[in-house]
Symmetry: C2
Subunit: 416 residues, 2 copies
């Protein structure tokens, strides 16, 4: 089966927003083993949407629309899709109640427009909206399965997870499940070369790599009659891959490296702090993106200048002068001093050249990351490609620091 | 004239990357006054790309493709587009030299595959690649203008800026130019209600608002025979809008609020530091995203916990206990103490509840932002919508802090 995602919204065509829904739905569909052959974006215009639906109907087994379900007169997706598939709309009373509840919970005033959102195509499976007002739905008509989802990413993805995935799973006698293995520290082509042969022999489950900005993931996908059966089929492959890739695997079905690290700290009742020069607050930002970080992340300093390194942490002025700010010695002091200052179990330090300009001594991409645990201080020198942009160098440096801590917390060699 | 953007790449359909090229090209096209009616995404598959081109040819005056120009056998955009428009390819010797130069500069080894990238459709206007290997081009055939651009966003946008925009401008006897007015602190619907009537009367130049996550921009677009003439036509409208919106305008054609603030600090030879609780390093991260921030941003502390507030800054324990961490009093101490500690001209402080959980005292979205300048300390209490997610609350709080500093640096009332 193949799918086409149609995103409706003039704001996408004006470039006001970027189409993250298409990306996130594609990942979910690919995890179900459904091929996505096209994404289309069209404005809030019934004629052009009708044309887009006609094209999609001729080539896709499944059409998923996002957007255009709001209460204003611009929002015409539901009406246009129903018409394109010869369906009438009916008033769904449960949807009305859910919308009323949503407004009550937020102490907001509901207008008559919002009541219009409770109309749905006759014969559909409704998807009620847990974090917004517009309900969505799925139906089968004229040989095509159609899912209608709202535009705001949070609502769209929540609805896909709650109703959409079950609907799609039910289309196949077999269910499709997948798990993700998260790696840090290995390049995509290296991972591929290591596993290529094995990937080719696997049919069910399958194994496929995909690259994120600074890391690689491997997706294991199984078709089976139940989740339990799928898990049983996937387990040996996951084991095999984890064994082969060793300690570069930081988790299975975890969200991010910082998530894994926070989980480990929390389970061990340990705390961390960070002193950041070239990453300028990025480690702190990434860690505190997660709610509840305060129980394990005590705080951090952004010591972007030599002055700040001295004043906030007491980094030795002679060392700064003799070794320069970008040095193994300063990295050691950053980690040790922030740890001492905040009384945390671990201290992380980062100093380097994120570019675009060099510091006149080191090449862009030279970064020292350090970890102090009170007994030892580990330092790793990174030579990241000077072709990477500032953002990627900063992100990689932050990930390397977090990964050192993960390795320390799981009793792996911290510096390879 | 209307345009369709076709992005080619299986990695887009797998959800490995998000289609930022379509967003960024859409903004540029809309600034040229060209309507974008469709985005399409298709995999590295010649049959499906051919079908997509056929559909686009029937409905668009301008087709822009991105991606599929790499050196591997998957990359078939150029060949497929040329065939769809009945054109042969020729070997472009300047493109070959540029590719050779690119490899020489990076001390990289060029393979025979890379040489294949120098083939281009006969009769095209070549666009040489300044930050990668694949050249792009533009041509007119079968009634349609076609631009072929590479997939990596940096290369794609640089090529559009250098060659693409000039090509598109030359299509119209008149040139189209635009400028952006950047606002902070006013909602989109308020800006629209304030300017709706005036926007309706404007024909050349035109005026249109567009919303970003935490701010609003207004785009002024003029058609004229030259840039100078366009500037002359736009100037009075820009003046009028700036007068009407007053001190919420933080810049014209500036990039971001942090850019404006860094520029002001730099021009006045002043420095700043930041003490962040709920924004957890986000101000530091945003400021240090910009190269050269170290000359004006001395450093910052992420004092996510009460302990860190005490240990790193010496925030008073009694105040923390009596007033709670989320209070006007703690905000004052954060700004004053980080300023004192780092010896900067200004200190910024942020403390609040970013959610999703409340602190048991304040509603999610309650944030105090503060600015100390050595003589006075200003505090603003924000009550951001608890419906906003953690990320948006953090981003808004950081922007409010930066905006207070902007207002102080331009002698505006800091707290309205």
């Amino acid at each position: 089966m193949n799918a086409e995602i149609i995103s409706v919204g003039t704001e996408l065509l004006l470039g006001n927003i970027v189409n993250t829904n298409a990306r996130d739905l594609s990942v979910m569909l690919s995890e179900l083993g459904i091929n996505v052959y096209w994404h289309s974006v069209v404005g809030d215009n019934p004629e052009r949407l009708t044309e887009t639906l006609r094209t999609a109907k001729a080539r896709a087994d499944i059409i998923i629309t996002t957007g255009g379900l709001g209460p204003t007169c611009d929002d015409l997706t539901k009406q246009t899709v129903a018409r394109a598939f010869g369906l009438e709309l009916y008033f769904d009373e449960r949807a009305e109640r859910e919308i009323e509840d949503f407004f009550r919970r937020g102490s907001l005033i509901m207008t008559e427009n919002n009541r219009q959102q409770a109309y749905l195509p006759v014969g559909c499976t409704p998807f009620y909206n847990t974090c917004g007002t517009a309900p969505g739905c799925a139906f089968f008509a004229q040989g095509t399965h159609v899912l209608i989802l709202p535009g705001p990413p949070k609502e769209c993805l929540a609805m896909m997870r709650c109703g959409g995935l079950d609907y799609l799973r039910s289309l196949s006698g077999e269910q499709i499940y997948s798990r993700n293995i998260h790696l840090f520290g290995l390049g995509e082509s290296y991972v591929e070369s290591l596993l290529r042969e094995r990937m080719n022999t696997l049919e069910n489950p399958t194994l496929a790599p995909y690259a994120r900005e600074v890391e690689v993931r491997l997706r294991v996908t199984a078709k089976a009659s139940s989740r339990e059966a799928a898990e049983e089929m996937m387990a040996p492959v996951i084991d095999e891959v984890c064994r082969k890739l060793g300690d570069c695997v930081y988790g299975v079905d975890t969200d991010t490296l910082e998530n894994t690290v926070l989980g480990l700290l929390s389970a061990q009742g340990k705390t961390v702090s960070a002193a950041e020069s070239c990453t300028g607050g990025l480690i702190a930002k990434r860690v505190t993106d997660l709610p509840g970080a305060s129980s394990v992340f005590l705080g951090g300093v952004t010591v972007y200048t030599n002055e700040a390194k001295r004043l906030l942490l007491g980094v030795d002025a002679d060392t700064l002068r003799e070794k320069s700010a970008v040095s193994r010695e300063v990295a050691v002091q950053l980690a040790e001093k922030v740890r001492g200052k905040l009384g945390s179990d671990f201290g992380l330090g980062v100093t380097g050249v994120a570019g675009p300009d060099s510091d006149g001594i080191h090449a862009v991409g030279t970064v020292f990351v350090s970890l102090a645990d009170g007994e030892r201080t580990y330092v790793r020198e990174l030579r990241l490609s000077p072709q990477y942009d500032r953002g990627k160098i900063r992100n990689l440096a932050a990930s390397h620091a977090l990964d050192m801590l993960r390795r320390r917390l799981t009793n792996l060699p911290v510096v390879k």
